[in-house]
């Protein structure tokens, strides 16, 4: 059962082959047996999940089942869940229980989905390896000595290991797509503003976007359709009709124009990753697509611009953790200043402090114009690169990450870790959607193909990914880890 897609499981529930309770019970047992080693969950909500599974079974009997009724899912521990701890991977929120649900959590519940728990992540979504979690690193099910990627590493590892058929993550600079690539699954970052950020713990508000990680593009379409849409509680969510994302899945790719950004195939790209990606592009040619080279000339400026904008927004967003209203508070503060300083020194980990310090520095008097305004100007140039490219082609393709998953503990220098996001980060600056799909292996570690589309062209993006998955079987490969476990 753990190999099946959401779509297959939904059909099984509908046909009465198994109940939601049986399905969720099996998934919870798998988590129990396997997650001690993987560490992909921070919190498992077994009791609540089984009660919700029973409710879904009753709703189905009554003929009142929602589109995701009874299907088990997991949520990155960045989405607020009423009554269940939301830690964001941080000591700061180790005992924080939100008084409300995130909008996407509410939407999933209304659709009948059953949440099995909250997945591990880099603290406050800052990281590319899941090694920055207060709850310890997550392991990659394909190779337990490798990282799963980050920051949505727990969600990606849980799906790849067959603990859940799908999970939600968030993507600020590649945090859905890169772990999806490293774990051999499909992960979609929607257009900025497509999915409500209400109740999603903020890191960099002009870049953050929630989205699905699943076994294939069709399941991502199903989930996006549930979670997308304008929300009065998030003023940056966009008033635009949510289309039927499954409608374009079977559209032929004949005549599709694919651009390969030459900057995405340059120095630093692992040769085995490049081979796998080029093979994937040949598959597209065999499906009738036309391929040409394009240029995104400001690509080399994306990481520098991001590491001004994201830390600046983070330093502002994270100022709310002050030990007064919620979250960690230091013992016996002598005065208010001491309360703030010790609470924050104790509650935040190294990488979070690094980004708060950089952000505070670049926003401070005398530096603001040179750093923050400059980065925002470059951000416009980066977005323009994509708009110009999409005048010529329908979609862009390249590798999701320059290397396959690296070893746990291998990246010790923060700047070299940042360079992991070279192909994903510009996408967040531009606000366009992107998807990573499994496209082969480098040794025993998966390779992801990244496909990018214009703003709000998720339906096309999902169709382009789905057609690839009709012609290849990379997305059907499963790791040896947990194969013997029912």
């Amino acid at each position: 059962m753990h190999d099946k897609t959401l779509t297959e499981l939904a059909a099984g529930l509908q046909a009465g082959e198994f109940s939601s309770r049986e399905l969720c019970q099996a998934a919870l047992e798998r988590i129990e047996h396997l997650d001690g080693e993987l560490n992909s969950f921070i919190t498992v909500t077994a009791e609540q999940a089984l009660a919700n599974a029973d409710a879904a079974d009753r709703a189905r009997e009554a003929g009142d089942a929602g589109p995701l009724a009874g299907l088990p899912l997991a949520l990155k521990d960045i989405f607020c869940t009423q009554g269940v701890r939301t830690s964001c991977g941080s000591k700061m929120l180790d005992d924080f229980v939100s008084p409300y649900d995130a909008t996407v959590v509410e939407k999933l519940r209304q659709a009948g989905a059953v949440n099995l728990g909250k997945t591990n992540m880099d603290e406050f979504a800052m990281g590319s390896s899941n090694e920055n979690s207060f709850y310890g690193p997550v392991k990659n099910p394909w190779d337990l000595s490798a990282v799963p990627g980050g920051s949505s590493g727990g969600s990606a590892a849980a799906v790849a290991a067959g603990l859940v058929p799908a999970a939600l993550g968030t993507d600020t600079g590649g945090s859905i797509r890169q772990p999806a690539a490293f774990c051999g699954i499909t992960g979609l970052k929607p257009t900025y503003g497509r999915v409500s950020r209400y109740g999603m713990v903020a890191y960099a508000s002009s870049l953050d976007q929630g989205g699905p990680l699943a076994r294939n593009a069709a399941d991502c379409a199903l989930l996006l359709e549930t979670i997308a849409g304008q929300d009065v509680r998030d003023s940056t969510s966009v008033a635009r009709v949510v289309p039927d994302y499954t409608a374009d899945l079977d559209t032929s790719l004949s005549g599709l124009k694919i651009g390969l950004p030459k900057e995405y195939f340059g120095d630093g790209l692992d040769p085995e990753v490049e081979t796998a990606v080029r093979e994937a592009i040949k598959v597209y040619e065999s499906l009738g697509a036309k391929v040409c080279e394009v240029s995104l000339p400001h690509t080399h400026l994306a990481i520098p611009a991001y590491y001004v904008i994201a830390p600046a927004e983070a330093s502002s967003n994270l100022s709310r953790y002050d030990g007064v209203r919620f979250g960690h508070r230091c013992d016996d503060p002598t005065d208010l200043e001491d309360l703030y300083k010790r609470t924050r020194a104790e509650g935040f980990g190294e990488e979070v402090k690094r980004r708060i310090l950089i952000g505070t520095h670049t926003l401070s008097e005398g530096f603001f114009d040179a750093y923050y305004l400059k980065a925002q100007q470059v951000r416009r140039l980066i977005r323009q690169d994509f708009l110009d490219a999409f005048d010529e082609v329908d979609v862009l393709m390249g590798p999701t990450a320059p290397t396959p998953a690296f070893d746990l503990g291998a990246q010790k220098d923060p700047v070299s870790m940042y360079l992991q996001d070279i192909y994903t980060i510009a996408v967040n600056l531009a606000g366009i959607p992107g998807i990573s799909v499994p496209a082969g292996f480098a040794g025993n570690r998966p390779v992801g193909l990244q496909v990018l589309a214009p703003h709000f062209a998720e339906a096309q993006l999902l169709g382009v990914a789905h057609q690839f998955q009709q012609a290849t079987d990379w997305h059907l490969k499963r790791p040896a880890f947990g194969k013997e476990t029912a």
């Binding site: 966009v238 590491y307 209203r325 508070r329 208010l336 402090k353 310090l357 140039l381």
Partner: protein, 95 residues
Amino acid sequence: MAIEHADVLRAAHLARVGLSENEATGYVDDLSRILKMVDQLQAVDTQDITPLAHPLDATQRLRPDEVTEHSQRERFQACAPAVTDGLYLVPRVVE
């Protein structure tokens, strides 16, 4: 632009993150390398380019000026570390 020990301490104070002199020394190197990487931005001519704050160039949406929220103080203070009579408790500020 390099970052000095004093800049790190200043940023830590502005961000209210407790940092000892020694800990600050540990950050000088990391933050300098990050800023050196960021300095590639300075080579770009951005004259007359409007800064981009929102990827869709959207502006803030307005709503009618009506009361839509009701007080849920007890519920929202349930997750606070220290509360009395509906007030958040902090160390005494004025003696």
